[in-house]
Amino acid sequence: MGVYVIHILNALLYSSVLFLIAGGLSLIYGVMRILNLAHGNLYALGAFVTAWAIGTALEAGAPTAVLLLLLPAGAVAAGAAGGVIERTLLRPFYKRPEEYQLLMTFGLLMILEDLIRLIWGPNPLSATTVYATLGSISIGGDRYPAYNLVIIAVGILAALFLWAFIYRTRFGVFLRATSQDKRMASALGVNVDRIYIQAFTLGCFMAGLGGAIVVPSQSAVLGMGVDALVLAFIVVVIGGLGSLEGALAGALIVGVVREAGITFFPEAELAVLYLIAALVLLARPAGLFGRA
C-alpha cells in the first residue's frame, strides 16, 4: 500500500516542478506569442541562485529557518532577469516574424548556459542541507523525504494562486484580454507594453521558483535547463500552448507517465512521452486545452 502512495507522491512531485516551468512557458506564449527557448535556462538560473544563496548562508552559520526563507531567492533572480531580457532584447521583435523571436531566444539560451558556467563554474552546486534537516516521514512503513512534500505543496499553491490571479483580479482580466486580442485590448486602454513585461517576468519567476524548490533535492548542474525545457515542451504540447489549465493537465500526465516509465519501462520513458505528445497533436492539434 505504502509503495503506491509513494509512487503517487513522486508523480505529484514531478508534476509540481513541471507545472511551474511549463506554466510559465505557456503563460508567456499565451500573452506574448513568444516561444521562449531560453525558458529552461531561467529554471536553471533559479536553481543556481538558490543553491548559491543557501550555500553562502550556511557558511555564515545561518539557522535552518533562514535557509528556508532563502529558497525563493532563485525565483526572484529569474524574474528580475526576465524583466531585463524583455525590456532590452525581446521588445524590438514584436513586430517581426516569429522566426526571429525563436532565434533570439535560442541565442539567449546559449548565452545564459555559459553565463551560469562563468559565474558558478562547471561543478554541480547543491543545497542538500535543507533537504536533510527536514528529515523524512513514514508512509505505510516506508520512509519518504519530508522535503518532497514541500515541493508538492508549493506546486499546488502556485497553481491555486495563479488561478486566483488570472481569473479573480483586475490584472488577470487585462492579461486575458491582451492574450485574446492585443490590439483591441490596447484600444480599450490596456497598457499592453506593461502587461508584456509583467507576463514575461511572472513566467520567468515561475520557472525560477521551479528551479529554486527543486535544488535542495537534486543539485544544480549545467545542462539542467535544456533538459527541463524539452520536458516542458512535451507538457505544453499535450496541454495546449498558451493554456494554464493545459499546462496543469499536461504536467500531471507527464508526471504520472514518467513515474510509471521509470518503474516499468526505463529505456523507453522519454520516447513514450514524445509519442504521447505526437498522438495528442494528431488528434487535437491545439492540445487538450488549447484554442486553435
Binding site: 532584447l89 521583435f93 535560442f106 541565442g107 555559459d114 562563468l118 522519454l270 514524445y274 494528431l282
Partner: protein, 306 residues
Amino acid sequence: MLLVVAPFVIDPFQILTLTYGLIAAIGALGFNLLLGYTGLLSFGHSAFFGAGAYTVAFLVKYLKVASMELFLAGSVLVSAILSLLFGYVCVRYTRIFFGILTLALSQVLWSLAFKLFWVTGGTDGLRVPTPTILGAAAIDDKMEFLAHRYYYYVLAAFAICVLLMWVIVHSPFGKALQAIRDNETRAEFIGIRIRRYRLIAFVISGIFTGVAGALWAPLNGLVSPEVLVWTFSGEIVFMTVLGGFRTFVGPIVGAVAFTYLKTYAVGFTVYWQLLLGTVLVVLVLALPTGIMGTVNLVAGKMKTPS
C-alpha cells in the same frame, strides 16, 4: 576554383575544417529549402543529420559495409523514409507548431539513441573507420586520406548537391513552394496542393541533410547522440540565418562561416556558447538578412550612388 586547389595550398587542419564546413553547407542547403523557400522553420533537422550519420555507423557495425557509395545510398533511403514519416505528421502545421513538432519528433530519436545503448552504444557512440571510395581501399595515413581524397569526394558531393538544389528551387516546383511561402491562400486558389508540396519539400530537405550526416560520419570518426540533440538543430538554423535565408548561397556561406567561427571559438575559450550566442543575438538585432543579405544590400547601394 579556389576550393579545388585548396589541399595543395593550405595545411590539413584547415582542409578538415573546410570539409566540415562544406558538409554543414549541404545540410543547411537542405534546411533552407524549408525555411527560405517554403517558409517552414524546422527545429528538428538534427533528426535527419543524425539518421544519416547513424545509418553509416549501423552499416559499419552490423553489415560490415565499408563502401562510401553504399553509405550514401543507405542514408538517402533512411532519411527519405524518416522524413516522409515525420513530414506526414508535421506538414499539417505551420509556424510555431511546426517548429515544436519537428523538435519533439527529433527528440524521440535522440532519446532512443541515448537509451538503447546495446544497439547504439549510448553516449559512447559508434566508431566509423575510413571508408573505401569508389572501390579503392583506404590508404593508411588517415590524415592524408581525409585531407585529400575525402576532401575531393565531399567537394564533388557538395557540387552535385548545390546543382541539384539550384535546379529544384528554379523549377516550377520550387516556384510553387515560394508561392506557398508568400501567400498560402492564393497558392491554394491557383490549384497548388499545399500539403503535398510541403511534404515533398520536407522529404527533399530531409534527404539533403541526411546526406550531410552520412558524409560527416567518416570524417568525424565517431557517431554519438550529440548529433541528434535539438540544440544541434538550432545550430543548423543559426548557420542559415547567419548566411541569410532569403538567398540561395546564404546557407552555404553561413555554414562555412559558422564552422570556422565555432572551431575557433571552441579552441579559444570554454565559453564558446556565450560568444556564439552573442553573435546570434547581435545578428538578429542588427543584420536580420544575414551575411549575403547585407552584401547584396551594400552592393545595391554602391551601384546606385545617392
